[in-house]
C-alpha cells in the first residue's frame, strides 16, 4: 500500500482551504495517495461557484483583509484554488463530500460540483481512508 494523506476540511476559510489543497497536492507530487474529506463549512466551498468565496480566517475585515491578501498572492504568483483543485484531480486525488452536512444544511448533490466529487459518504469512509494513512490532518 502506498503512503497516503487524508485531510478533513472542516473550515470554509480561504486560507485554510489553501493549506489543505497545497498539502494534498504536495503529497500526490511526492508519490503518495491523497484524499480530502469536505465537511461542515468546508463543504460549502464545493458548492458551484463557491470555491474562492471563503473569508480569511483572521483579519477578514468584511472582505477588505481578504482582498489585500488576494492582491499580494497574485503578486507573488500563487495559483488559484481552482487550479490547485484541478491539479489535485489530475494527479489522482479523491474528493469526498460529507453527506451528514448535506442533510443538516439542506445541500443537494446538484448544488455541489458533482464533476469533481469522487464520493458522498460518512464517517466510516473517512475512518477507512484515514486508518491506512501516514498523514492525517483536520483543518
Amino acid at each position: 500500500m502506498a503512503d497516503k494523506t487524508t485531510i478533513i476540511v472542516h473550515s470554509g476559510d480561504m486560507d485554510k482551504v489553501y493549506s489543505a489543497l497545497i498539502i494534498a497536492n504536495g503529497s500526490l507530487a511526492m508519490g503518495m495517495e491523497a484524499s480530502i474529506f469536505f465537511t461542515f463549512w468546508g463543504l460549502q466551498r464545493l458548492k458551484k461557484g463557491a470555491l474562492e468565496k471563503g473569508p480569511l480566517s483572521k483579519m477578514n475585515m468584511f472582505g477588505l483583509g481578504k482582498l489585500m491578501v488576494k492582491l499580494k498572492m497574485k503578486k507573488v504568483g500563487v495559483a488559484s484554488l481552482e487550479r490547485l483543485l484541478q491539479d489535485f484531480k489530475e494527479l489522482g486525488g479523491k474528493i469526498l463530500a460529507c453527506d451528514l452536512t448535506m442533510e443538516i444544511m439542506g445541500i443537494k448533490k446538484e448544488d455541489l460540483r458533482e464533476d469533481i466529487i469522487s464520493d458522498y459518504c460518512a464517517v466510516g469512509t473517512y475512518v477507512s481512508e484515514a486508518r491506512g494513512s501516514t498523514i492525517t490532518l483536520f483543518i
Partner: protein
C-alpha cells in the same frame, strides 16, 4: 526517448512540484523531464520527490536565480 520541458519560472509553492509530477506521470520510462524554475524551496524539494518516486536525478544547475533540474523517468 523524448525530452520533456516544464517551465515553472515565476511559479511558487506548490506548482513546481505539482507540474514536475504531472510531467513525470505523462512521461514514458526512459524519458527525460527537465524542469526550470525560480522558487528556491522547489530546487530542494523536487529532488526529494524524485527520490520518493524512485526515479533518477540526472543534474541540478543554477544560474542567476534560475534552476534547472533534469530527471529520468
Amino acid at each position: 526517448m523524448a525530452e520533456i520541458k516544464v517551465d515553472c519560472t515565476g511559479e511558487t509553492c506548490p506548482i513546481p512540484l505539482v507540474e514536475t509530477r504531472k510531467a513525470l506521470r505523462k512521461a514514458k520510462s526512459g524519458d527525460i523531464v527537465e524542469v526550470i524554475g525560480t522558487h528556491p524551496s522547489s530546487k530542494k524539494e523536487i529532488p526529494m520527490a524524485v527520490k520518493a518516486l524512485g526515479l533518477e536525478l540526472l543534474d541540478i544547475q543554477e544560474k542567476d536565480g534560475v534552476w534547472r533540474i533534469r530527471i529520468r523517468r
